[in-house]
Symmetry: C2
């Protein structure tokens, strides 16, 4: 993160991260180190600003949401209407026409980061929903748990056939200002200017390395995180941490001479943030092999201390993982719950591959997530090490058990909607 910097898909940093991680895997003596081609969206940010025009001229701290369309040069001005849900938006009827819709839904600090999901739905689909009501742009209060004048970016996606209006996040303070002014009955008018652009898809890659299994090498446990990051910070917690956890788990197992029956395969995915092309490409390229993937474990919740694992598997799988995780009691990482998932490993669900997510303490994760302050200093080396231990242990255990985890039942082999 210090030397390569941001790694948004299609950027020089993303390319450098592919080369660097492959080289590191080779240096660590791992097997079958390779890159697998992935074509990725190539979205670039450009200049951006927002200005409160009424009731008084105040600069607002703003950043485009990923994959947003630009504004016209010089920006777009409009009165602001505020909603906290799509229901409220729809209830506005014609009142959103010609307006800038502000989604205002503060998050709550919690170790599980629970309130992210609801707010992320507004971010992901909010532009198209607002456009359907005639809005000219959408703003959202940054999804975050700290007010440090940091706008939090994140991906949004346009619905087919709906006008693509510009979409951006305001820093909490600036959204709160608009909220207070609107609550006091003011007419609130804002100018938004976004210079972002979407270029033709670029070539990139997933990076793969293996610790070959001793007796059933064709059966595979995947572990991984994602190589790409947002462009504002340097993606240390999202997801430099998950990459480091996966690489270091591999290095340690190799160095210790620990070789389970099955193969452990680290996959460093590209493009988790704005397209999931890496996750989709891996599942497609390896579709013949997924029947012999016995588990996939993703680390993409930062570098907070490990709490345990979330698991999606067939009947009895949760209990199996719970029993294994008892060995992690000294780390405090014994909590095993359902709902294992991950953007990168998600597509393997369709083949029934048991999915585990390493669960980190996310109490402070959303303070920095997707901001310019996602930098190396946010990672506690000891907590990162504990995550490595938890990942290395669980990967080894699942790769070495006599009987693989029961697979996800047919009825649950669907990709969850955002």
């Amino acid at each position: 993160t210090d030397r390569i910097g941001q790694r948004l898909s299609g950027s020089p940093g993303a390319a450098a991260a592919v080369a660097w991680s492959a080289e590191e895997f080779r240096r660590d003596g791992l097997a079958r180190v390779r890159t697998e081609k992935v074509m990725v969206p190539h979205w670039i940010r450009g200049e951006e600003f927002a200005l409160l025009l009424s009731p008084s001229p105040v600069p607002l701290s703003v950043t485009a949401l990923g994959m947003s369309a630009p504004t016209p040069s010089g920006g777009i001005a409009g009165d602001v209407v505020e909603v906290s849900s799509f229901d409220e938006l729809h209830a506005l009827g014609e009142k959103a026409r010609g307006k800038i819709v502000l989604y205002y839904k503060p998050m709550v600090r919690h170790p599980d980061g629970d309130s992210y999901g609801a707010a992320a739905g507004l971010r992901y689909r909010g532009a198209s929903e607002a456009a359907k009501q005639g809005a000219v742009a959408m703003l959202i209060r940054s999804l975050g748990t700290l007010s440090a004048r940091l706008p939090h970016t994140g991906v949004q996606a346009y619905e087919d056939g709906v006008e693509q209006i510009p979409a951006a996040a305001l820093a909490a303070e600036d959204a709160d200002l608009l909220h207070r002014l609107l609550a006091s009955g003011e007419r609130v008018r804002v100018r938004l200017s976004l210079g972002c652009r979407t270029l033709p898809d670029a070539e990139s890659a997933n990076v793969i390395a293996e610790l070959r299994g001793s007796s059933r090498p064709e059966e595979v446990v995947v572990i991984g995180g994602h190589l790409d990051s947002w462009d504002l910070g340097t993606g240390a917690i999202d997801d430099g941490a998950g990459v480091a956890v996966s690489m270091e788990a591999m290095r340690l197992l190799k160095k210790l001479g620990l070789r389970p029956r099955r193969t452990i395969r680290a996959v460093l995915f590209m493009n988790e943030e704005n397209g999931n092309r890496g996750g989709l490409a891996y599942a497609e390229a390896h579709k013949e092999e997924l029947a012999s993937h016995v588990a996939a474990i993703e680390s993409d919740s930062g570098a907070g201390r490990p709490l345990g694992f979330d698991v999606s598997a067939g009947a009895g799988g949760l209990e199996r993982v719970t029993a294994l995780a008892r060995s992690l009691v000294s780390l405090g990482a014994t909590r095993v719950l359902g709902g294992g998932e991950g953007v990168d490993i998600g597509p393997m669900r369709l083949a029934g591959v048991p999915l585990l997510s390493l669960r980190q303490d996310m109490t402070y994760y959303f303070d920095w997530h997707h901001t310019a302050a996602d930098t190396l200093d946010k990672v506690d080396p000891r907590e990162l090490s504990d995550n490595v231990a938890a990942m290395a242990f669980m990967a080894y255990a699942l790769a070495d058990e006599e009987t693989p985890l029961p697979r996800i039942p047919e009825a649950e082999r669907v990709v969850p909607k955002r």
Copy 2:
């Protein structure tokens, strides 16, 4: 802070703050409401950026220090040398020539904000000290206690006869990055571009209002904070809070019909941040009257809960204030120590006026001080109210006591050096 925004000296916001506060004082029914002319420096920020050139291109989060000279158009590039003190700088000898000097001195979180002073000396004098060694620019790790990718501005001053090199603060994360790279032996090269300018002095004002004393109205207790702010945020804790504390203390005393023997005079000072012209102008305009100023109390340490007062007075003064502050036990504001001061009230020290500073809990103050995140949400209304109570009480008590506080002895009537 919401409607006027930033109030840097010479800005439209500063002018609006003068008009607004005078109007509010009148609305509150206070006596002799007036503005007193102050000519202020008029420094404006302009575009600014910094870029790490070597070992790899990374944008750095930077902001000019107040009163800095601009760089040439296109910026100035130089290798970076790091020091943590002027002694280290001087020991560099010729090694600083042609370089960019980085002052690297992290602060420590503390309720008293104690480590600000030492670091602020580096910020205030660092450019000229570096220029004397042949440096082409100076950077400083932001003076702050949180790493939130926020550069903290603050004033610096050039020494007469020394080349005026550009001076800027890096966000903690960016200074830490340079620090890590230098520690690993890398050549670190940076381009700095500052578009700031100093315009001709502008006309502004202190704003004054009184609660006339009942029996000795010509004797005065001054209370106040400063109207101006830095330009990155909206100056809610620095020093919207001190202004609010002073105005609300006056309003409450008036509303309650409390009229002490002596006059309480609220002075909202202009230009505390980058020149102290308001504090100097007040002392000059009122120099004949300062002999009958019995005390001056400043509130300029944010809006954290009140801890007590720092006092500069003659022998026995500390004990007198300590006895009075016992009445504030329910607020926990009973701590009375020496060292009362304040940039605005400081010039009155030369006339021996006893100086008190309302001491706020500064544990989190330097997280936001002089940043874009100094906004209204950082103020806890209850803690602000407690400060109002402490200020109103102490102002009334000092204005009503039979015997005024002993004045500062002749030997201590000097303005402290920065």
